[in-house]
């Protein structure tokens, strides 16, 4: 990476590692763009709704990081599982969970994708193999490994993708999960969304080795970095990784270098990073990066771009209406979903 700003963090100007492009067919870039816009619009609306107190609790936005879920999930097959963190609205959306059920979940409504019980941090949709929505940093890594072990034993030739932040790499569960996955050649793709901060703690102040692929490679896991602000690069990297994983090669670690433009959560006054750093990264907004590139190549009609934003807005309008019309679960149901097999008294 080359340093282009006075901030403590270098901004990647070029994808760092890719030498060769994979040959696997990629989704049309315009679709990737459309999906990133869908996430952006959804999350910006979430922020507004939070201010209006429609959404409560913790709300973690991934604005700026959209290229990572879009790129990776675009490379997945429908029956392949995703396990994500509490910063997962976009992941859920791209995995096929409807914007309506996502929004209703944030409203705490029974029509939400987790029946309203989970909220923003705990989006689930088993039918779409979307396994949350997990808010113990690092805790979902072993679970993702286990899902992939089940596929191994049951002879499903498919991969499981686990997303986590770089903060999780200081947790013991990261190391345990990596070791186990490597040892047993488990078909799992670990995607580190390296946005350089774990709440207010910078990577540099929390990791003895800040080159994360070096850490991951210590487990004998193929480990690559990719420019997480370039969705095409992310998709290509994920496709290459998933192809290897599905072929039985065992786990792959992918670091996507990205940045969140907003605070950690709605409670965060964002005091720990220089404004110039944020501004420098905003220059690499993944939506603008791709839109500009397509426009420069004459592959993007400006009216189409406007239409993508308008379509996304319409989708979110509809989602908000769905959530607003949603119902609250009766209080009498409070103790449901504690046991699948209720005990007869």
């Amino acid at each position: 990476m080359t340093t282009t700003t006075p901030g403590p963090w270098a901004v990647p100007t070029r994808p760092p590692v890719w030498a060769s492009r994979p040959s696997a067919s990629a989704r049309p870039p315009i679709d990737l763009l459309a999906d990133m816009i869908r996430i952006r619009v959804l999350e910006e609306r979430c922020a507004e709704l939070y201010q209006q107190t429609k959404i409560r609790g913790f709300l973690h936005l991934a604005i700026g990081e959209e290229a990572v879920p879009v790129g990776v999930i675009s490379a997945l097959h429908d029956d392949e599982a995703v396990v994500a963190t509490y910063r997962e609205h976009g992941h859920a959306l791209i995995k096929g969970v409807g914007a309506g059920p996502i929004m209703a979940e944030m409203y705490g409504r029974a029509e939400g994708c987790s029946g309203g019980r989970g909220g923003s941090m705990h989006l689930f949709d088993v039918g779409r193999r979307f396994y949350g929505g997990n808010a113990i940093v690092g805790g979902h890594l072993p679970v993702a490994v286990g899902l992939a072990i089940a596929d191994q034993v049951l002879d499903h030739r498919r991969a499981t993708v686990c997303f986590f932040g770089e903060g999780a790499m200081a947790e013991g569960e990261f190391h345990e999960a990596m070791n186990l996955a490597a040892l047993w050649k488990v078909p799992v793709l670990f995607v580190c969304e390296n946005n350089l901060y774990a709440m207010g703690t910078s990577l540099r102040s929390s990791e003895s080795e800040t080159n994360l692929t070096v850490k991951a490679a210590a487990y004998n896991v193929p480990s690559w970095s990719v420019d997480g602000m370039d969705v095409v690069e992310v998709e290509a990297a994920a496709t290459r990784a998933l192809t290897a994983i599905r072929a039985g090669g065992g786990p792959v670690f992918l670091e996507a270098r990205t940045y969140r433009f907003r605070a950690h959560s709605m409670f965060d006054p964002d005091l720990y990073r220089p404004k110039a750093e944020i501004e420098a990264w905003r220059e690499r907004d993944p939506i603008a990066v791709l839109a500009d590139r397509l426009a420069a190549a004459d592959d993007l009609d400006p009216t189409l771009l406007d239409e993508l934003w308008a379509r996304a807005a319409a989708e979110v309008d509809e989602a908000v209406a769905f959530a607003e019309a949603g119902t609250l679960e009766p209080v009498e149901d409070l103790t449901r979903h504690v046991y699948r097999r209720e005990v007869a008294p």
Binding site: A81, G116, G139, G172, L180, R336
Partner: protein, 359 residues
């Protein structure tokens, strides 16, 4: 002690009642015909073998479950028979392999995860409490976690303060978990299949002093009801409530009391969560006196919970305060005399029972 422990629960008298089972299923490795005398360890091993044989979704994982044969030799011979994919030695990563077990359960397997002891399970507490116990709820009922997590608990072998604690009450605190503790050979054999059929996470506590004990396995025993306590001895004067490692001591105390004409009813809690209030209440409503024998610490312990429930439900039937015999409030010491002094003992139980009666 082991004889008493091994005695099969009297089905006629105990509250556990129903035993619905397909007679052919889950019996792989059991002798047919007459009652058999086997160890608690062997009963567990048979349960594992039968589960692995009957259900291809069952896998066993844990530290040293393969080549070593299991810390307590429960899984001995299983990897030779079922292979390393189904009997998996894990690295020393309690959180990692318990979490992987949870994921495997979500993915369609029926994992049996062995954690060497409850003491080490604290490194996996995140997975058990924050993940296994919450997923069904957080997902609005979508994701149940059919995992069985086994671990040894308890003291009595001079293993000192990092290998001897009875922390089952910590897990029994958590909604979403089922916590059971086989104290007899029959339960060691038949709780596992019931736990594997359960759609929710089940934690199975095996008291470390029980592995070598023997008892009878009746040919008509079968999968048990996981939700019910069992009355192991009938009596009308006082109810002794015990589980896992203290059951044998409670039964021994009851025998001693019987010599003095005091008939103690002994309840084996079996299920530590959810507690079988009905069986407890029915007994204490009759006897009017209760002694809870808990190898865990007294403060904020499972024994406290049992005592509170009895007091709430049976207040007007009680002729004496509910008594508790618990471990001393000290990390379990190494020297035998101090270790034994820290644990509930038969004379303590006898004295407490007498005190409730006033003689």
């Amino acid at each position: 002690m082991s004889d008493l422990i091994g005695a099969p629960p009297s089905t006629a008298a105990d509250g556990s009642g129903e035993r619905s089972h397909d007679p052919s299923r889950g019996r792989t490795g059991d002798g047919g015909g007459a009652a058999e005398r086997i160890t608690y360890r062997e009963a567990l091993r048979r349960a594992h073998r039968a589960a692995l044989t009957d259900d291809p979704r069952v896998i066993v994982m844990g530290e040293d479950v393969a080549d070593y044969g299991g810390t307590y030799a429960v899984t001995k011979g299983l990897y030779e028979e079922f292979g390393r994919e189904r009997v998996r030695n894990t690295p020393l990563s309690e959180s990692g392999f318990v979490g992987a077990g949870i994921g495997a359960a979500l993915g369609g397997l029926r994992p049996i995860v062995e954690v060497m002891t409850v003491n080490f399970s604290l490194l996996a507490m995140d997975q058990i409490v924050n993940t296994a116990a919450t997923l069904l709820h957080m997902s609005g009922g979508q994701l149940n976690v059919p995992i069985v997590i086994r671990m040894a608990t308890g003291a009595g072998r001079q293993l000192a303060a990092q290998h001897s604690h009875s922390l089952e009450g910590w897990y029994a605190h958590v909604p979403g978990l089922r916590v059971v503790a086989p104290a007899t050979v029959a339960d060691a054999r038949w709780m596992l299949p019931a736990a594997l059929e359960d759609p929710d996470p089940v934690i199975l506590f095996e008291h470390a002093t029980l592995y070598g004990s023997s008892g009878d396995l009746a040919p008509d025993d079968g999968p048990v009801d996981l939700d019910r306590a069992a009355v192991r001895r009938r009596g009308e004067h006082v109810t002794l409530i015990a589980w896992a490692g203290t059951l044998g001591k409670a039964i021994a105390a009851a025998e001693e009391l019987a010599g003095d004409g005091i008939e103690a009813e002994v309840i084996d809690l079996r299920t530590l969560r959810p507690l079988d209030d009905a069986t407890l209440t029915a007994s204490v409503a009759t006897t009017g006196r209760a002694v809870v024998v808990d190898e865990g610490w007294r403060s904020v312990g499972l024994g406290a919970e049992v005592a509170a429930r009895i007091t709430e439900a049976c207040f007007y039937h009680l002729d004496a305060p509910v008594a508790r015999i618990c471990a001393a409030e000290v990390p379990i010491p190494y020297p035998a005399h101090l270790e034994q002094a820290a644990l509930p003992q038969v004379p303590d139980i006898v004295a407490a029972a007498r005190a409730t009666i006033g003689r």
